[in-house]
Symmetry: C2
Subunit: 265 residues, 2 copies
């Protein structure tokens, strides 16, 4: 069965979407098929994988409402072995739409359970090694749905002071969800992003986080690299846009480290 | 009466808080007193102005619930002429706390109206030229409260592709609020942030935004400057941490441009 993880951090702009896209692409490139579920109304992961708004027929909103199964909403991307459930702005209305539904926090978990059952019975349904869920920058119902559906949280952490400040809040939220809604929820790991070797702040954050959470922090650090931020405007992951740039190489390295750590578990 | 504006953008990490802190400081420095209301549960604006979590006795959460007036929650900062209503994590629970309250979207507007009435009657209550509201990165009840209470939205826009993608959604949300909840709501302006002269992406975003929204975009562009991101770890605005750095100079220039445009309105 696939390993399901959500990319969550209520601090904005820390690299959740960029990590979902590029780590997903790198894992697919080394033969580990990935499904990415875009749960952010902004739909940046869908755009960054080249799925235009006009082409998003069935979305994660339809899945949460039960108007489509996960299998129906899955679509291909330009990356072999990397599939996507796209997002749309409709997600902004999901809290209101599901306000009377007792299972509203479990909608994604239920959809995934249904999907797993289908894929056991029907080998044509894609089998994934990893399922990623890209979350919006808040601890709202969408992020809660992701944390209830996932087995772990992958935490992208920008090497900046404000991002560090929010980490303890995020970790305590994960503990709360683990204690009440999803006992299986763990921390997959903390990945440092937008590391800028030219400034002290990055190394201070790196040293600080490793001293507090050593075993959880990946050895691989993602550098700040303009090619990574240019790629989404072409609807491509950095690995397709420029596979030799420092950002792409780091995401390939991260994919290897993630798989090694998974095997060692 | 003060000009009330909220700093809003559902895209995360675009410089909302950094602009609120540093533009506020710059305005206070040129003699225009400012009040900043921190409406983000992360409380980054409060931390960036040196107010430790332990010192936040009354917060914006207490004001929204009606447990404290705005006047009671206002506290001083290290910057003369710059006051703050701090935020706390309690704000995460405000939607649930106010779910039965019909005025839940108007709580901040009501508190501000009450404050204005008090300050007319009692000259001891600080008179501000500008009131800023720092918003979280989502279009939720907190941001709606800010948009209902404000006369305008100041939009920080990071010079990156994903940030540009979210702009049209933000502008349409502003139109919706203007049409239904707050007819006075306008766009104060769009300020380009984290502009990196070394890469094409920044100039492309700059050219793109000016071609679509020319009159709304400030001439002043805030450069990416590591001193700006180091300052919050010392609990200081960039202007106090390093008043000669490019970021501080840009925020001083922006303050002048904002005041000039206000006078010309
Ligand atoms: N390693 C990197 N080098 C340079 N730019 C990066 C890097 N990683 C991300 N970015 C850029 O930084 C910005 C923020 O990244 P991203 O949108 O992935 O963060 P996020 O956490 O998903 O944001 P949100 O909170 O809005 O969902 C984007 O414009 C992205 O292109
Ligand atoms: N001009 C700048 N130069 C360098 N770094 C900057 C600049 N402006 C902001 N930053 C840094 O970028 C990060 C994001 O900025 P900030 O937190 O102000 O954005 P925000 O929109 O308030 O984020 P959120 O969506 O989480 O509320 C912070 O770590 C901040 O220190
Ligand atoms: Mg994102
Ligand atoms: Mg902020």
């Amino acid at each position: 069965a696939p390993r399901v993880m959500c990319l969550a951090n209520q601090k904005g702009g820390v690299g959740k979407t960029t990590t979902a896209i590029n780590l997903g692409t790198a894992l697919a490139a080394i033969g580990e098929p990935v499904l990415l579920i875009d749960l952010d109304p902004q739909g940046n992961a869908s755009t960054g994988l080249g799925i235009d708004r006009a082409d998003r027929k069935l979305t994660s909103f339809d899945v949460l409402l039960g108007d489509a199964t996960l299998a129906e909403a899955v679509c291909e991307t330009a990356v072999p072995g990397f599939h996507l459930v796209p997002a749309s702005m409709d997600l902004l209305g999901v809290e209101v739409e599901l306000s009377d539904n007792e299972r509203r926090i479990h909608r994604l978990a239920d959809a995934l359970a249904d999907y797993q059952a289908t894929s056991m019975a029907d080998s044509a349904v894609s089998r994934f090694s990893y399922i990623f869920i890209d979350c919006p920058p808040s601890l709202n119902m969408l992020t809660l749905n992701a944390m209830v559906a996932a087995q772990s949280v992958l935490v992208p952490l920008q090497c900046e002071f404000f991002a560090l400040e929010g980490l303890s809040q995020l970790l305590s939220t994960i503990e709360q969800v683990k204690g009440s809604l999803n006992p299986a929820l763990d921390i997959q790991g903390i990945v440092l992003t937008m590391f800028d070797a030219r400034n002290n702040l990055s190394s201070q954050v790196d040293a600080d986080v490793r001293s507090h959470f050593d075993g959880l922090v990946y050895d691989t650090v993602i550098p700040r690299n303009v090619r990574v931020s240019e790629a989404p405007s072409f609807g491509k992951p950095a690995l397709l846009y420029d596979h030799k740039c420092s950002g792409s190489l780091a995401y390939m390295q991260l994919a290897g480290e993630l798989v090694r750590r998974e095997r060692a578990r």
